[in-house]
Amino acid sequence: MSATTLTVTVPRVPVGDTFDAAINWLRANFEPVFDFVGMVIDLCVETLFHLFAMTSATQFTLIAAAVVGGALLVRRHRVPTLVAVAVWAGFYVAELAGGLVATAISSLPAPLFLWAMNLFGSSYVYPPLVLALLLLAALVAIAFAVGRDRRLWIIAAVSPVVLLAVLALHFIAGVQLSLLVAPLLVLLALFVAGWRVALFSALGFLLIISMEKWDNAMSSLALILVATVVAVAVSLPIGILAAQNDRVSAVVKPVLDFMQTLPAFVYLLPAIAFFSIGTVPGVIATVIFAMPPGVRLTELGIRQVDKELVEAGEAFGAPDSQILRRIQLPLALATIMAGVNQIIMLSLSMVVIAGMVGAGGLGNDVYTGIAQGNVPVGFEGGIAVVVLAIFLDRLTGAVTRFSPAARAQRAAA
């Protein structure tokens, strides 16, 4: 009794092997490119982390200068502000290249600096700090000279005072940095999103600090911000192209579907292959995972702009680029910002996976918690992620309020 077998031999398609071969080929031929990208991302994340978690006096000063400068720019005092910044940048480059400022300082009479050195207990004058202080002074002077606006004056007066208070508290009184940076973030939330969000942020950040997760949270925040900036920078142009061209849209859509449905862990394979372990593959995997909503919502936002408005632009002879910049993008901004918001949220959800490849931060805590069965560490890491998520979500959600379209809508209501 011989049974005929119905087994059909299906040829094995070497999908995985091909993919692997492709990665190897890319690595072999484009290694310098990947190295360069990896280096830039790493540098950015490092810098941001230092800014948040190991803020130097120079950075504090530059932040204060940025606040005053931003207020000046918003009120359209462009020329003096940009001149001041350009002069500062010139001196900074000269200092980096040839120690110009250091030479200048050493040629000045010592008593000018000695009191400050004694106060901060430092043994030498740090030239970039001097430059930053001069920039801040210049911007404050400009604000009082050209500004007609009382709010501008208040900002220009309060910024240096806050700066001095922070510097004194940290470098002289020895208050921990986390207790100083957190209030600054709360202040930001207060201005952008109102007092409720500020109150929540204050409580949330205190919780993070008391859980001793502040440095890890800042590390994750740096990673998320870099990933977000990269994802926005990539997804915005793609979204615009897709909105303007149906063929691009038809190609992009399935690719986005693929990116969103492929399990996030799978991204890690090529990311590790190209960038080995550490922060960079975490950022890359996060970018790929978080990008699709950015593209989709940009396309949707631009396509949703009333056709008649675009036609009106055309009817008055506006070129396409102008229609994009002055009509489509401003009106699509709310939708695009919803996309940015989604990018940030998805980045946060990738933090844990990024932690698996050694990106550090809160993800690392959660991963440790899982790997070692250490519930307290894992849970605390998770809670910190949630606090960060809510803070960033409310902040980006509120930024839309400042767009001209939103302002017009409020005026009309």
């Binding site: 008649e308 408005l309 009106a312 008055f316 002879g317 506006a318 379209a405 017009a408 009309a412 209501a413």
Partner: protein, 446 residues
């Protein structure tokens, strides 16, 4: 040179438009070429618009009027045919040239206003100049002027969302005016407004047009609006031109049943004017003659009243037979004291609708007196009633128009708007209407 000239324009949407054009040029209906999987929106449309004219394109939805207007400024490229603006063939222009033409020669007003919600009213009005690269101060000054023209001073800093529909469309109009182009396209500009505001806007448009002398191409689906605004009207049906002519030509001499059906419901009293229904003033009496001669004239003509007119056609007044009869019996020699000078006088351009009140109060027929104060015709009450009857089946003669007056009321239409020659395959020429004018009103007015 016409401001805008369309020559055998076709717009076919679909894959193989060339073949469709050939078939349609042979005279097939657009439903007959459905198998080609194309949509014929505009078929063989030709017309000329003269500078300073209000040219109305009228048709129901789906008749291709919006497609047509978008071909006039190159927003849509025609499938076949040419569009000339000031003598330039815009279908041959490259993209940049087309943009320049739009920003310098043709502006547009949209059905749903198409104002930029994120810009202030002032910035909206200044948009055309902004695109052209005019400096901020200058364009804002011009935009303010344009906003003042449409009666929106003091609203410059608002955003469109804070304005009512009518005001928003005024901003739309100001945007087109500020761009300072000679030609303005208006795509169903007033259709989204409620009736009262629509009337206001129509009046304002006529007023502005009389003042600024722009060439306006106005799209509408509302026949009353077309009749009120248009120096000439082009009726579109299924993408083809059904008739081009003045409001009165279309009303009194429809080219086909479709147009006839269309105009059936028109409020004729708003379209017809005093000059188109008035009759020759017979008899008239010279003021230098005596009462006896006047009485004889009236009895000869079997009327109970007559107008007293000087040799230079200056209207003095009117006399009644019973008054004169009594005077003759009393042997009065002078006519002067018997003349009733308190008469209802109307202008030739007054719409018939506005005549009823005066006609009811006056014991005499209405006297039609032109700008130079000359007596040009009379309107007895019975003539007014006859004017209300549609042309079909009536031969009262009173309602056949003079064929020379634009229907715009209030005398705001420019006197020089010439009726352009109709296209080769177009509707009957104005002479046709004149031929049918059997009454003596036209002669009487010359």
């Amino acid at each position: 040179m016409p401001a805008v000239r369309a020559d055998k324009l076709y717009k076919i949407f679909g894959r193989r438009p060339g073949k469709a054009v050939d078939l349609l040029a042979d005279g097939r209906h657009r439903d007959e070429i459905k198998h080609l999987n194309v949509t014929a929106a505009v078929i063989d449309v030709s017309f000329e618009v003269q500078p300073g004219e209000i040219f109305v394109v009228m048709g129901l939805s789906g008749s291709g009027k919006s497609t047509l207007i978008r071909m006039l400024n190159g927003l849509l490229p025609p499938t076949a045919g040419t569009v000339e603006v000031d003598g330039t063939d815009i279908t041959a222009l490259p993209k940049a040239g087309l943009r320049k033409l739009r920003s310098e020669k043709i502006s547009m007003v949209f059905q749903h206003f198409a104002l930029f919600p994120h810009r202030t009213v002032l910035d909206n009005a200044a948009y055309g100049l902004e695109v052209r690269g005019v400096a901020k101060d200058e364009r804002h000054a011009k935009a303010r002027e344009a906003l003042a023209l449409v009666g929106l001073e003091g609203w410059e800093a608002k955003v469109p969302g804070q304005l009512s529909g009518g005001m928003q469309q005024r901003v739309g109009l100001a945007r087109a005016l500020a761009a300072d182009t000679d030609i303005i396209l208006m795509d169903e500009a007033f259709s989204a407004l409620d009736p009262l505001i629509r009337r206001d806007m129509q009046s304002q448009l006529l007023e502005l047009q009389a003042r600024l002398g722009k060439t306006i191409i106005f799209i509408t689906h509302d026949l009353n609006e077309a009749m009120r605004l248009g120096d000439r009207i082009c009726v579109l049906r299924d993408g083809r031109v059904a008739q081009i002519g003045t409001a009165e030509e279309i009303l009194n001499d429809p080219a086909n049943d479709y147009v006839a059906q269309f105009v059936e419901d028109v409020d004729r009293t708003r379209v017809l004017t005093a000059s188109s229904v008035m009759e020759a003033p017979i008899p008239v009496i010279d003021p230098d003659k005596g009462p006896r001669a006047a009485l004889r004239t009236m009895r000869d003509n079997q009327t109970v009243s007559a107008f007293v007119v000087r040799r230079n056609r200056q209207l003095v007044g009117a006399v009644r037979e019973d008054v004169i009869g009594a005077a003759v019996r009393d042997n009065v020699k002078e006519l002067d004291s018997l003349i009733d000078t308190d008469l209802a006088r109307v202008h030739p351009d007054t719409p018939v609708a506005d005549l009823f009140g005066q006609a009811a109060e006056s014991p005499y027929p209405l006297a039609v007196v032109d700008d130079a104060d000359r007596f040009v015709g009379v309107i007895p009450r019975v003539t007014l009633l006859a004017a209300l009857a549609p042309t079909t089946g009536s031969d009262t003669g009173a309602d056949s128009g003079t064929g020379a007056e634009p229907a715009a009321d209030g005398g705001t239409a420019p006197a020089g708007a010439p009726p352009a020659a109709p296209p080769p395959d177009g509707p009957p020429a104005p002479e046709a209407a004149a031929d049918t004018a059997t009454d003596t009103a036209a002669e009487g007015s010359r």
